[in-house]
Subunit: 184 residues, 2 copies
DNA sequence: GTCTATATTAAGATAGAC
DNA sequence: GTCTATCTTAATATAGAC
């Protein structure tokens, strides 16, 4: 099997147990591969598995979020499209965010630069849409960062409260809030 | 030394490495106690250390946030007081949140109920202030949850971007935003 | 209350056969 | 590409002296 086919299992495990909690034994069980086979696909061990996940997530972000945000459709509907996809990938707020998991685990330093780049490009893409709506650059940048913060935060709190309704509500209202004051 | 005196070191370690990454060896180093001494103070091991941290954090939340929110001062200044203390405890956005760390580590299930209770009581206290401002109950509850989400999210994103300015900005604007539309 | 020493288990990782 | 078997290290945890 090509190593890409193990990414979904890996993501499920890292989301469930965190970086440190997702042990090779658990990964072996979940993928059905022996430890030696895992090292055949990922010679660098767990770190390389996470890098492969980040590769996948970068592609996913580009294809599902960035391309639409950078397209020529109506700004509000592009933001709605983003929220639809975000809602899907976090399963309506029931799944935690891998970026947060990596930032709060012991391997923070190893993956920090890549997570930072991902946050930056996402925030910038949202800000670009808002500038297009006539919002000035500084406010656009702030609103875009606030939007990503709101998503991350409502995921945390949804996990904490065991109730994803706050996340669902955010996904409904976020596009409109972002465009607020632009008469679109 | 009474075991309370080790709480600050423990909190520093768990915030830096996460639950799974904060090993007994690191804890031994940081506290200057041998492993056996750690088990003398905390017979239940790491879990009991985390419980002691949560005890401390519950007291801290009550004394520094809840008591003020439930007091009879001006609503806006009570919310400002909350933000001042939150800003302190997270060191201006440079420190991550232990609740998020616990929710995203492998021991999630062990501590989930306590974290949930803490989030609930915090959100409810904010909502009570907003209701006092004349905001209807449902909106107050939503705004309060959004406020806690915004705090958690901006901490995550501040860690991710390596730039706490988003958190600092939130601490400045949050009290006003919460009271928005109440003519206070 | 703290220590040294050690037990036990599980983690990450590799060798070499098939 | 996958396996069994094994290695090494480090993790949690305890016994018993001081």
């Amino acid at each position: 099997m090509p190593k890409e086919s193990y990414i979904p299992s890996l993501m499920r495990l890292f989301r469930q147990y965190g970086y440190d909690g997702a042990t090779l034994s658990k990964i072996s069980q979940a993928t059905g591969l022996g430890k030696a086979s895992l090292y055949h696909h990922f010679p660098g061990g767990k770190d390389e598995m996470v890098e492969a996940m980040l590769d996948y997530l970068e592609r996913w972000l580009d294809q599902n979020i960035l391309q639409t945000l950078n397209s020529r459709g109506e700004p509000l509907s592009r933001l709605q499209h983003m929220c639809d996809r975000v809602n899907e990938v976090y399963e309506g707020g029931k799944q935690p965010c891998l970026f947060a998991i990596l930032l709060l685990g012991s391997a923070r330093d190893v993956f920090h630069d890549r997570v930072k780049a991902i946050y930056r490009v996402w925030i910038d893409a949202i800000a670009t849409v808002l500038i297009e709506c006539g919002i000035n650059q500084e406010l656009a940048q702030q609103r875009a960062e606030d939007a990503v913060s709101a998503i991350q935060g409502s995921l945390i709190v949804s996990q904490g409260l065991d109730d994803p309704s706050g996340f669902v509500r955010l996904m409904q209202h976020l596009p409109g809030e972002l465009c607020k004051g632009t008469l679109l």
